[in-house]
């Protein structure tokens, strides 16, 4: 199991600069982004999923989670970070 692949999910009201803010935070901690999906649902709800690799990150997973949560609060969004397996297990056989 690859423990370094982490899914970062961002949900909340849309505004300019969300992708840049979150990506900057990840870059500062040396978290590599492998894949991004982003869209605005129902007119104004921003939803983004980012598959990341944290194997070279300069902080551990717990600290990264905390930083993302704080960033979410600052931006008025919900930001989650979870190991990728949970989604694979639930949606793929």
């Amino acid at each position: 199991m690859s423990e370094s692949r982490v899914m970062v999910t961002v949900i909340g009201p849309d505004r300019v600069g969300i992708v840049a803010d979150v990506a900057t935070l990840l870059a500062k901690q040396s978290v590599n982004i492998l894949d991004i999906n982003q869209k605005v649902m129902d007119g104004d709800i921003f939803a983004m999923t980012m598959l990341t690799d944290i194997s070279k990150a300069v902080i551990d997973f717990g600290e990264l989670k905390k930083l993302l949560e704080e960033k979410g609060k600052e931006l008025g969004l919900k930001i989650h970070a979870q190991h990728e397996e949970i989604f694979k297990y639930m949606h793929r056989i």
């Binding site: 949900i11 982003q38 979870q82 949970i86 639930m90």
Partner: protein
Amino acid sequence: MTISPEEILETIQMIEQESLDVRTVTMGISLLDCSHSDVKVVGEQVIAKIERLAGKLRETAKGIEMDYGIPIVNTRLAITPISQVVAGGHKDDFVYIAKCLDEAAKRVGVNFIGGFSSLVQKGFTTQDIALIDAIPEALSSTERVCSSVNVASTRAGINMDAVKKMGQVIKEAARLTADRGGLACAKLVVFANAVDDNPFMAGAFHGVGEPECVVNVGVSGPGVVRAAVKAAKGKDLGEVAEIIKKVGFKITRMGELVGREISRRLNVEFGILDVSLAPTPAEGDSVAEILEAMGLERVGAPGTTAALALLNDAMKKGGAFASSYVGGLSGAFIPLSEDQGMIRAAREGVLSIEKLEAMTAVCSVGLDMIAIPGDTSAETISAIIADEAAIGVINNKTTAVRIIPVPGKKVGDMVYFGGLLGEAPIIPVSRLSSKEFIDRGGRIPAPIQGMKN
């Protein structure tokens, strides 16, 4: 194998808004090797063994919760039915051991330890009698210990002497905790066809055919199923069953991941996954509201039993496909005091104990967390247990009774237990006497269904 953003958001929504969680990670521990003629030695060995095997359980569960972002609500322990471990035949020995179990649970940080139990479907050993006599004192003087007694099985029939005794034990347990609404009774389950690997409380114990140490996982998610059924308004019941099955599959897969991961991290065998819809007092996390979402004005309306049968079966089918090791009770629970929809219906007087009894014929357990008037006689409680056991024995399923005759309370009053145990209105029971029937005692023979070889 990319996962679409819609799928990712669906998972997040299940957890965030629909209260999806892993309800319990329960470690089963065999205590057979802790037996000794001196009960003090038994106590020391039991505490030492539990600390050794379960010392990291809570911390490991917390780690998995963080990594996957899925709440793991409880960590618990299930032990060998303790009547098989304590050699002495004295009640005080069992009360002493209950206190040791409580201490062990506190030390490893689990909120319940199940297995203060006896299996007496065919008859009593000296230890069984001492244990059963000790139950009221044991449960009223400890905080985390849970007890269960199996009084019947499809293979053995119904031990009516045990049924009679359990009516008295429940009354006494309520009396000793009168200041807390009879709380001790909320930690006591009377079973028919009890299972060896159920991770849920209060009825968990580590059966004798189980390995030295094992982890069993109980997943839940009434809120997720309710949301899915609500979204299917107007669809026919075959389609509703299909939708529930798919949700059951997803919930089970998540539990499977957690179970396998916790087993790997602790280096302990993975036992089973129990796919049970277990309601909580949280808004929307209600089994009753799933049935209402299918189109019933209130739970308890005609059609309730059919709706529950559909739900229970669809959950099992979804679960069976998602994991090879589905076990325990797997289905839907209907604990009255823990389900907002049930509480509402009982308060309005539209959900009776008789309807609940019918529902237990088609769901995974029995009469659960039901508060009844404090002056209900021991014989009436025994007779309720006998009826429930008969449903289990004849239908080859587990049934159970967890009933609280709340001291000093009458029909229409409320009792508050707090936390996961919730609150309940006192509902009426028949005032007709069953005394002569219960006083007969003896054993109701195993039914013809039990002769399967």
